[in-house]
Symmetry: C2
Subunit: 201 residues, 2 copies
DNA sequence: GGTCTCCCCTGACAGATGTCAGGGGAGACC
DNA sequence: GGTCTCCCCTGACATCTGTCAGGGGAGACC
């Protein structure tokens, strides 16, 4: 019997996923949590074979929970299940050692099949998404451009960014402009969004 | 037996909701669609008692589908099931005649209970959300301010907005500035977002 | 050793954004 | 009838944004 922990902040979706998985003869949901920071404690207590982790959760996000899980409960394999199949998320998921990465618009049978596959030692990643993540290539942003764009993404003004990074305002403006050009965006906000989606930030 | 149609673009979530509902003895899922513009045709074919409608779907959104449903299949009651419990969405749902409005972070038992309640002729709306929607009050934006903000939300420049609405650029700037002030935002983009969330746009 | 490219850094400038001051008309109020 | 308030409208102006030109240093290449 494959033991599964579900981490999903929307309780209705969590309950629906539980109902779906318990249709399977060989899968049992042993724990449910609604916050990222409850994952490790629940895994230690219930010893699931697989942890199904949404990304956007209160407490901490699913990717951070996957990292903590890998350190604290190595026998539990993390499978990320997310709404947005963003290459940036896929990259981070691979970096933290997740065994699987699913998006919620995959066919419903994919869920149970993927859980069985990761228990059998396979890695489960949507091929199209993997190709998209690889096709993006390495970041075109220099270190400083990324630093400045990250601050801008949080809403900081040029003056604030200049202070924080010990640069002049002209320098900050130039780095923002360069980042806008490299991402093909029209504004710094859009550039930050594009960079995040592609895993460059 | 209560017949239910599910409209949800994420097939895995759709399948999970189906599994959840079919745990109930008195509920049967008779149709599933993944696009807003397939709802009416499916409802005509399968004659569901209740249509469970996500909002953000390709084709057309769930609120538009609810409106079309009310016109074409009056016997089918629409229940909106959405990720974001935004007062603006609630208002629009009530305007198009939806019988229920649920958010995905409600307790899982709420789903079947709500379906039964709307079939029995009740209206099902989260009380906190209804209170929030009412507390917002009528829009503080004047007609022209709303017109200009709507265009800005779509990314138009001041010059473009001026042309489209037959105003001078100074007038457009002034209306944008006023809207920014009334919504407590810092930029026109943020003002548009706040207005949309509150149902003022 | 010389040249080239990239990164890091900076200030000047044109265009965009948001604020401010102000006018005319309509409706409410006294 | 006069006054007040709000909406609709406009241009001037200060500030912000993004682009451009340019310099120095480090490393790769010849």
């Amino acid at each position: 019997m494959i033991r599964v922990l579900i981490a999903e902040d929307q309780s209705m979706v969590r309950g629906a996923l539980r109902a779906l998985l318990e249709l399977e003869d060989d899968i049992e949901v042993v724990a449910e949590v609604g916050r990222g920071d409850e994952v490790v404690a629940a895994a230690l207590e219930h010893a699931p074979d697989v942890a199904l982790l949404d990304i956007e959760m209160p407490g901490c996000d699913g990717l951070e929970a996957a990292r903590a899980l890998a350190a604290a409960v190595p026998a539990t394999r993390a499978v990320v299940l997310t709404t947005f199949g963003r290459p940036g998320f896929l990259r981070r998921a691979m970096e933290v050692g997740a065994a699987g990465f699913l998006v919620k618009d995959a066919p419903v049978a994919e869920l149970a099949r993927s859980i069985r596959a990761v228990v059998a030692g396979e890695r489960v990643i949507d091929r199209d998404l993997a190709a998209a993540a690889l096709a993006i290539g390495p970041t075109p942003l220099s270190g400083r451009e990324a630093d400045v764009l990250r601050e801008a993404a949080g809403g900081a003004t040029v003056a604030e960014i200049a202070r924080r990074l010990f640069l002049s305002e002209g320098t900050v403006r130039n780095y923002l402009s360069s980042a806008i050009g490299k991402t093909g965006a029209r504004t710094r906000v859009e550039a930050a969004r594009v960079a995040e989606e592609r895993g460059w930030l």
